[in-house]
């Protein structure tokens, strides 16, 4: 895979370049926002990993740029990923907060790439997620994790409340904002389910 990592901390860049290249990936590292633009002009990437604190340019602009080229973006955040962030920030395809284990990043990269490579619509009642647009009901952006939760619930699979808790909440919030009737509720003896 061709991976673009944008992060001001150079030690980070070194460490992850080494690690990711071990897996056979081609890694491009940049520490300055403006470099992203130049690199993008010349190359294409499969996925981008970007620190929200990238200097010089607001990361939002960069994310938009990357999305225009259909490159999924994983955003690295110093703050905990909260429900609010998931509802309001709505830019990244996935979020990861410091500190994380390298395995978590590699997993996430794979997940993001595979999710966005498929072209499908997930629908339950009046709720629909559009991949690869990554939009809920065509308007509200969703992340990969949320998509995965949604898919699992649609298939009546089990969802770990601890890990998926915030995605369940954020989905509920977004559905509520859209005035949809679908919600995710915990049912006794069944666990979380999509309900109306």
């Amino acid at each position: 895979m061709k991976i673009l990592i944008a992060e001001p901390d150079r030690d980070f860049l070194h460490a992850f370049r080494s690690l990711l290249e071990l897996d056979g990936n081609r890694v491009t590292t940049i520490f300055d926002g403006t470099q992203v633009i130049t690199k993008l002009a010349a190359h294409n990437y499969d996925v981008a990993v970007m620190d929200m604190n990238i200097p010089r340019i607001s990361y939002k602009e960069l994310v938009e740029l990357l999305h225009k080229k259909n490159i999924p973006v994983i955003l690295l955040s110093e703050k905990r990923i909260g429900i609010k962030m998931l509802c309001d920030d709505v830019l990244g395809d996935a979020y990861l907060s410091f500190p994380f284990l390298p395995g978590e990043l590699t997993e996430l990269i794979e997940k993001v790439v595979s999710t966005l490579s498929s072209d499908e619509k997930l629908r339950f009642a009046d709720a629909e997620i559009d991949i690869p647009d990554m939009k809920l009901c065509t308007t509200v952006p969703v992340t990969c994790e949320e998509t995965e939760v949604f898919r699992t619930l649609m298939n009546k699979g089990a969802v770990d409340s601890k890990k998926a808790g915030k995605y369940i909440s954020s989905l509920n919030h977004k559905l509520e904002k859209l005035n949809k009737k679908t919600r995710i509720r915990y049912l006794m003896n069944e666990g979380y389910r999509l309900v109306t």
Binding site: E78, F100, S161, R185, G191
Partner: protein
């Protein structure tokens, strides 16, 4: 808060006790006097040196129904009170002079002289030494000279009065002139006597002039008290006819006094008309009623009452004011320290995040390139451990500006979901799990935080339960109650300190953790106006959260 109330209460009690004792003592003293009077069988003699003669002259003035006897009226300064020893050496009370000056010509001369005051003679008596600073041991002032009134006495209030002055005795002189102008102006002047200075005495004793005390100086038995007493006594026979036995009162006429006495005839002893004390006693078949005026004695009592009440109120107000203004300053350091602690933790946490992540990545690279060995495994383990800790720290510090949003949280849902989710873990640890969660318990607050709260409580239970854990969630009267109990090895008692930061009661390497979980719970609950508490009873730890 409670400490202040306690202090105020204590103050109130103290002041009340003082006043009660004061008034009780006044009553008792009044009783003593009435007893004395009654013992002398209703005769004129009070406990002291009065005699009939004494009465006649002032009575002559009084019985005319005039209130010229201003003895009680002149009590603007209650220092004429015999209880006040200062009177004897007093310097500053000019009214004293006026009192005695204005017609109590029964001042008894020491040595029990017949009060032949109006003669301006003081046979055997020492002339009062006028309180003039410039006459140290000076000449006897020439009393019976008309110019006395308005003369020296008003100099009393000046500060430079040598302590050996006997104020009272000076009083007598002007009396002579004012009351008996007819007589005194022509009265023969007593022969001048020379007096040697009897030695100044700095501490206010009557250095040199010694009263030949008959009786006490102060109190109900004092010499002066008995003669300054205002009272009347009436005797009643079986038919209810009243007969005056003595009349030395100034507030009422004889007829009124008779009526007054007869109204009391069926009582025994007590207060009447607020400032008068009475006693009823029988003798020789007749019922005697004595009423004495205690207004002068009661005045200081009321004075003390007012002073203590006002003083008490002032003190309380002052202390409250102080508390309000200084209280804030007092608490500020504590609040500051708490905030700084939070900031510090947050900063630390931030600084650790990146390095940990990098070390993690490098370690993995190391292992993959160089092969794993003891050292790399160890590094890995430790770094993972630190990562976990920092994550916990990060999750559990609450700064005021974190993304908090108020939303409706369905607690029941989440609690049940989490409990079920962790059921496996409970089973693994052989802890029986029970719960009773009311459905639809909803709360307004920050959803994320409350999820963590629930997670923390469950995880806490997992860590520290021995064999049983139970959770109860319900809503009562608009308040949400969340009870957790688990059996524990901890001793009985209140354990609110488990909610303190960095406190772990049972230290266990495995459970790890920074001791922040429950403090997070407390912070969140508090910020939503709730309460947390914990106690151990009969080997069961009960944690209770009210919202």
């Amino acid at each position: 808060m409670f400490a202040e109330l306690a202090i105020i209460l204590l103050l109130a009690v103290l002041l009340s006790v003082i006043n009660v004792i004061n008034f009780a003592m006044a009553a008792e003293e009044a009783d003593t006097i009435t007893k004395q009077i009654s013992q002398s069988n209703g005769s004129v003699r009070g406990g002291g040196n009065e005699n009939q003669n004494n009465n006649s002259s002032p009575d002559a003035q009084i019985s005319g129904g005039t209130q010229t006897d201003t003895s009680s009226d002149n009590l603007t300064e209650p220092n004429s009170n015999s209880e006040n020893t200062e009177v004897i050496q007093d310097k500053a009370e000019s009214s004293d002079m006026q009192d005695t000056a204005n017609g109590q010509p029964e001042g008894e001369m020491p040595g029990g002289e017949p009060p032949q005051m109006p003669e301006g003679e003081m046979p055997g008596g020492e002339p009062p030494q006028m309180p003039e600073g410039e006459i140290p041991g000076g000449e006897p002032p020439q009393m019976p000279e008309g110019e006395m009134p308005g003369g020296e006495p008003p100099q009393m209030p000046e500060g430079n009065i040598p302590p050996e002055n006997n104020v009272i005795t000076t009083a007598t002189s002007p009396t002579t002139s004012t009351d008996n102008t007819a007589e005194s102006s022509d009265t023969s002047v007593p022969e001048k006597k020379s007096y040697k200075p009897s030695g100044t005495n700095a501490n206010g004793n009557n250095g040199g002039f010694r009263l030949n005390n008959k009786g006490n100086m102060m109190g109900p038995n004092s010499t002066e008290m008995s003669s300054s007493l205002r009272y009347f006594t009436y005797a009643f026979d079986e038919d209810g006819n009243g007969e005056k036995v003595s009349f030395r009162i100034s507030a009422v006429t004889e007829e009124e006094a008779l009526e007054w006495a007869s109204s009391l005839v069926n009582g025994s002893t007590g207060w009447t008309n607020i400032t008068y004390r009475y006693r009823v006693y029988t003798n020789n078949g007749k019922t005697y009623v004595t009423v004495i005026d205690q207004s002068r004695e009661l005045w200081p009592c009321y004075r003390i009452l007012i002073i203590t009440v006002i003083g008490g109120i002032v003190v309380v107000l002052l202390s409250l004011l102080l508390l309000v203004f200084i209280g804030k300053k007092m608490f500020k350091p504590v609040e500051d320290a708490d905030r700084k602690q939070k900031q510090f933790i947050a900063k630390l946490e931030n600084e650790f995040k990146m390095p940990l992540t990098i070390i993690n990545a490098n370690t993995e690279t190391l292992e993959r390139e160089g092969g794993t060995n003891e050292e790399t495994k160890s590094i890995n383990k430790q770094v993972k451990r630190m990562t976990r800790l920092v994550r916990e720290l990060g999750a559990l510090t609450v700064l005021e500006d974190t993304d908090k949003s108020m939303s409706k949280i369905d607690l029941s849902d989440y609690v049940i979901a989490s409990l079920e989710n962790s059921r496996k873990k409970f089973v693994e640890k052989r802890i029986t799990l029970e719960y009773d969660i009311e459905s639809e318990v909803v709360l307004s607050g920050d959803e994320e935080s409350f999820r963590k709260v629930v997670d923390e409580l469950i995880s806490n239970s997992l860590k520290f339960s021995v064999s049983k854990a139970s959770f109860i969630l319900n809503k009562q009267n608009d308040r949400i109650r969340f009870y957790l109990s688990n059996d524990t090895k901890l001793p009985d008692g209140s354990c609110d300190q488990i909610f303190d930061r960095f406190t772990t009661l049972e230290n266990n390497i495995e459970t790890g953790g920074a001791g922040l979980g429950l403090s997070y719970v407390k912070d969140i609950v508090r910020s939503h106006n709730g309460r947390v508490s914990a106690e151990v009873k009969d080997g069961i730890m009960n944690i209770r959260i009210d919202l």
